[in-house]
């Protein structure tokens, strides 16, 4: 057994020692390189062979001896190696063709040995030795395949390729391990089915988007101002006014985001309008503007990308040719692990089959179509009435609140002050139930009914949004008017101060220099900060409302049902009120609308994405707990993966609707004169022009000015419009061609079926006739 080891004893010992030491080092390395070579070079014979159970370190006495060929090839190998070592000194010589061929075949042989040595029935030491030799040979001579001088480089390249592949694989493992909350979502999926889990997946995706927005705003706006800008108290815009100083640190004031919170990096008004700050000459106003635009651009990109990715997934279930086959083979949701959900799934499958049968029958029986159409028309009519009614109610409430704003705030009671909020909340609570009621008339499939419901609640909430924006624009206009007055006042005040100073100076020849504490300077109303504050307050109050609703509506109700059931007349769990189901549509819409608020407000309050990150983070944990603890699976379990594009579509619409006001404000409203990074400019976007003139070489400015020539811009817009039209026409044409081909295929398949049936019948008849 030891005949192949060198005979001299001390070399043998050295050999054994080397084997042990080296094997430990490159165990992982070797196995990966093995795998690489295996995948690249050899056919996979392993999978066909039956696996033998590995019994490590058990040396059986009846191990068969190695085949005699091994000895000979091994000796040949040794000879080759020695010859090569000798020749290795003359590296400059070219290796001729047949040497190259022989080398190649030997290399292949060696690689095969490496791949199969584990399955050979030899002793461990022998396997290790053979493996080492083969690997050494391969490593030394691989480079020889690249001719002559390039040998070293080739070997190096191969080694780098292997290391790179290993690095990529480890990185993939790391990425998969980093995905957050995977276990939680999987647990929810198994208990509630995939429709509820889709909400949490959507939440997690939003968290990712908000994280990017937060990193952008934090690192490029808040951090530079905090590190390199002037500190608190140095400028009027950065200091709490004297009148409010006493209460600036109260919790009530801070909770409203007034006082100290208002005069901090959290809001627009704190930022100074110096063109560059700090030793790096960081251009803060430019960065503020660009980050705002980038956030919007990034959000559009990411939503569109998610939508286009999902379009491919939509290819299941649209085809009607295999309706029943699909229902039989693919109805079960294999992610369900809870018996209760399984029961619900059984029921829903049964309902599905019943519906399919009814649909088949109904397609043949046409008399009810008119009734159904009439009912649906009626339902839509009622919904339209409701939406119109709620719109008018909101409009009336806005008018009244404007009247109240004129009156003295002390004469108003609680209802008058909060009328608008109450009206919107009540509408939000009752209208969805009304919509549900009308949906009974329509009698749609649950998926389609959910879409209609989502669409209608969406239209209702749009009314809320419209009111909010209207109120905001009113406020802004008021503040701009106020600002003009304040500007006039300041000039008067300054004149007074200078007169007083001169008067005090005339008494003494030298006196303290002209100094006014920043807290005493009269301030303009900073409408941007006001806008930012509104959005932040809205977000915070939304969060609290949601959490309180979950606690009371879900948790307390569940406790009540659970514990009072013992002493109640009817069964609380099965009858009213029972446990709540997870309201997917409500939650998704809340998420989408809140995100719209964030997009609208983050230009005026850079802290908003940060607040949202906190909110989403806690929301994830809180809602996961609430779902598992207080909710029951829905009675109608249906797969929601197709609705995901629906949510994303609504998100895109809201994104569009929320960036419009921001862009309008940036482009057409003048920034406040004494707060924010754009103070003193006529319009906010002038910062770009200023940068172009001062920071870029003059020829670039000239070129850009030429580019913004109206003629050129119109030409570009025309070209884009033509391109869109052309692409649209092409797409339509291709869709039509697609449909045509599908029809042809269906025709063909039908014909085939008929023909085969006829042949089968003829064969059967012949067989029957033959007997």
């Amino acid at each position: 057994m030891n005949s192949y080891l060198p005979s001299t004893p001390h070399i043998q010992k050295l050999w054994n020692l080397q084997i042990q030491v080296e094997e430990k080092d490159d165990d992982t390395e070797e196995s990966s390189s093995e795998e690489e070579e295996e995948e690249n070079k050899l056919p996979r014979r392993e999978s066909m062979r039956p696996k033998r159970k590995r019994t490590r370190d058990v040396i059986k006495e009846d191990d068969p001896e190695p085949e005699p060929e091994d000895e000979e090839t091994r000796k040949a190998r040794e000879k080759e190696r020695r010859r090569r070592l000798k020749r290795g000194a003359e590296e400059e010589e070219e290796i001729d063709e047949e040497e190259l061929e022989r080398l190649k075949t030997e290399l292949d042989e060696k690689r095969q040995v490496i791949a199969t040595v584990k399955c050979k029935p030899w002793k461990m030491e022998k396997k290790i030795e053979v493996l080492r030799e083969a690997k050494k040979f391969v490593n030394e001579n691989e480079g020889a395949l690249g001719k002559g001088k390039g040998k070293q480089w080739f070997a190096f390249k191969m080694m780098m390729a292997k290391k790179w592949a290993k690095f990529l694989r480890d990185f993939e493992n790391f990425k998969a391990a980093c995905v957050p909350w995977e276990n939680k979502i999987k647990a929810i999926e198994s208990q509630f089915g995939s429709s509820v889990a889709s909400y949490f997946l959507f939440l997690r995706w939003m968290y990712g988007v908000n994280m990017v927005l937060f990193i952008l705003t934090f690192s490029l706006i808040m951090l530079p101002e905090y590190l390199w800008g002037l500190p608190y108290g140095s400028l009027p815009r950065k200091t709490v006014p004297r009148a409010e100083e006493a209460s600036a640190a109260n919790f009530g004031v801070l909770y409203d985001f007034n006082g100290l919170a208002q005069y901090s990096v959290l809001f627009y008004g704190y930022y100074n309008n110096k063109r560059t700050i700090g030793w790096m000459n960081f251009r803060l106003p430019l960065s503020y503007f660009l980050v705002g635009i980038m956030c919007i651009g990034y959000s559009f990109l990411v939503v569109l990308r998610a939508m286009t990715k999902n379009i491919g997934d939509d290819g299941g279930g649209d085809d009607n040719t295999f309706n029943f086959s699909w229902k039989v083979f693919t109805s079960w949701d294999y992610l369900i692990g809870n018996p209760e959900t399984a029961d619900n799934k059984f029921n829903s499958i049964t309902m599905n089959f019943r519906e399919a049968i009814i649909e088949e029958r109904a397609a043949q029986v046409e008399e009810n179509i008119h009734l159904i159409r009439f009912l649906r028309f009626l339902a839509n009519f009622f919904v339209f009435l409701t939406l119109g009614g709620s719109g008018y109610l909101i409009f009336w409430a806005v008018k009244r609140s404007q009247e109240f704003a004129q009156q003295d705030p002390d004469t108003l009671g609680w209802w008058e002050k909060n009328e608008m909020n109450m009206v919107m909340s009540l509408l939000g609570m009752f209208c969805p139930t009304l919509f549900d009621l009308f949906a009974e008339l329509e009698d749609y499939h649950p998926l389609i009914a959910l879409k209609w419901l989502l669409g209608r609640i969406f239209a209702l909430l749009l009314g809320n949004l419209y009111v909010f924006i209207l109120a905001l624009m009113d406020e802004i206009n008021n503040k701009i008017e106020e600002e003009k007055l304040v500007k006039a006042n300041i000039t008067l005040w300054e004149a007074n101060m200078i007169k007083a100073y001169n008067a005090s100076l005339s008494g003494n020849s030298t006196g303290p220099p002209f100094f006014v504490h920043p807290a005493d300077v009269p301030r303009g109303p900073c409408w941007e900060t006001m806008v930012g504050q509104e959005f932040v307050r809205l977000t915070v109050s939304d969060v609290l409302t949601t959490y309180v609703t979950i606690l009371i509506g879900d948790f307390l109700r569940a406790c009540f049902v659970r514990f009072c059931n013992y002493c109640w007349c009817w069964d609380l769990e099965y009858g009213y009120p029972s446990y709540t189901e997870f309201d997917i549509s409500g939650n998704v819409l809340a998420l989408i609308f809140n995100q719209g608020m964030i997009w609208m407000g983050s230009f005026f309050a850079p802290s908003l994405p940060g607040i949202n990150i906190l909110r989403l983070h806690t929301s994830m944990y809180f809602q996961c707990w609430a779902v598992m603890c207080c909710n029951v699976p829905e009675a109608r379990v249906f797969k929601a993966s197709r609705s995901n594009n629906f949510y994303l579509g609504m998100l895109l619409l809201i994104l569009f609707l929320s960036t419009m006001p921001v862009l309008y404000m940036i482009v057409s409203l003048p920034p406040s004169f004494d707060c924010g990074p754009f103070s003193g400019k006529n319009r906010m976007f002038e910062v770009i022009g200023e940068t172009l003139e001062q920071d870029f070489p003059s020829w670039m400015a000239k070129i850009l000015r030429q580019l913004s020539n109206p003629g050129l811009v119109i030409a570009v817009v025309l070209v884009m419009a033509l391109t869109i039209y052309y692409l649209n026409a092409t797409a339509k044409g291709q869709k039509a061609a697609n449909l045509d081909l599908k029809k042809k295929m269906k025709q063909q398949a039908l014909e085939n079926k008929l023909r085969n049936k006829k042949m089968a019948a003829a064969r059967a008849a012949a067989a029957a006739g033959g007997h």
Binding site: E39, G315, F322, F353, K757
Partner: protein, 196 residues
């Protein structure tokens, strides 16, 4: 659970399993832990009783058949390689895999055809390569139970066979089965996200 390579060394034949199934090291370690968790008495293999403990299989109407698919050829034990081999069918399909693949190698276990073959053998109990109307009826009875009348079940089975059958033999062969599910996104539906 981490991907510490020292654990990988405890799994026997880890490299050949990796080659055959295409799982990453981290996934294999996770599966090994699961295998050990299911193997209550630390026998080193799983029996039917062990697999029946899994909740999701217990409520599944086809649960028994899925458990049977772990024990090919009527054996009573499944060891770790066999366990992983069945689960390899549910590995998500990686597009890059198909690009670099050597066409002479056998298809990876998680290709679309192999996934469909796995699903097919759940329905084809007698392994004759076809799903007959009778077998379809059995599946329907498992899935729907007593809530639908027998005659409705029979008409559903007839309708299904009629839809998928192309050569008129009254049964659904594997190719017809694959064709009927052509538009279905099998690569996504028959994949478990965490198994990479």
């Amino acid at each position: 659970m981490g991907s510490r390579s020292s654990h990988a060394a405890r799994i026997p034949d880890v490299d050949s399993i990796r080659r055959e199934t295409g799982f990453s090291q981290a996934s294999l370690i996770r599966l090994y832990h699961r295998f050990q968790a299911l193997d209550r008495n630390e026998k080193g293999y799983l029996s039917r009783v062990d697999l029946q403990q899994i909740g999701a299989l217990a409520v599944n109407p086809l649960g028994d058949r899925i458990i049977d698919s772990f024990f090919p050829d009527g054996s009573l034990r499944v060891d770790f390689p066999g366990f992983v081999r069945v689960l390899a069918h549910f590995r998500p399909v990686d597009d890059e895999d198909n690009g670099n693949r050597d066409p002479k190698e056998p298809e990876p276990l998680n290709s679309r055809m192999n996934k469909l073959r796995f699903a097919f053998q759940l329905y084809d109990l007698d392994r004759d390569g076809k799903i007959s109307r009778h077998e379809m009826l059995q599946v329907l009875r498992l899935m729907v139970g007593v809530q639908v009348t027998e005659e409705q079940l029979e008409s559903i089975a007839d309708r299904t066979v009629q839809e998928a059958d192309e050569d008129g033999d009254g049964a659904v062969s594997f190719l017809e089965f694959a064709k009927s599910l052509e538009k279905m996104n099998i690569e996504q539906k028959m994949s478990i996200r965490i198994l990479k």
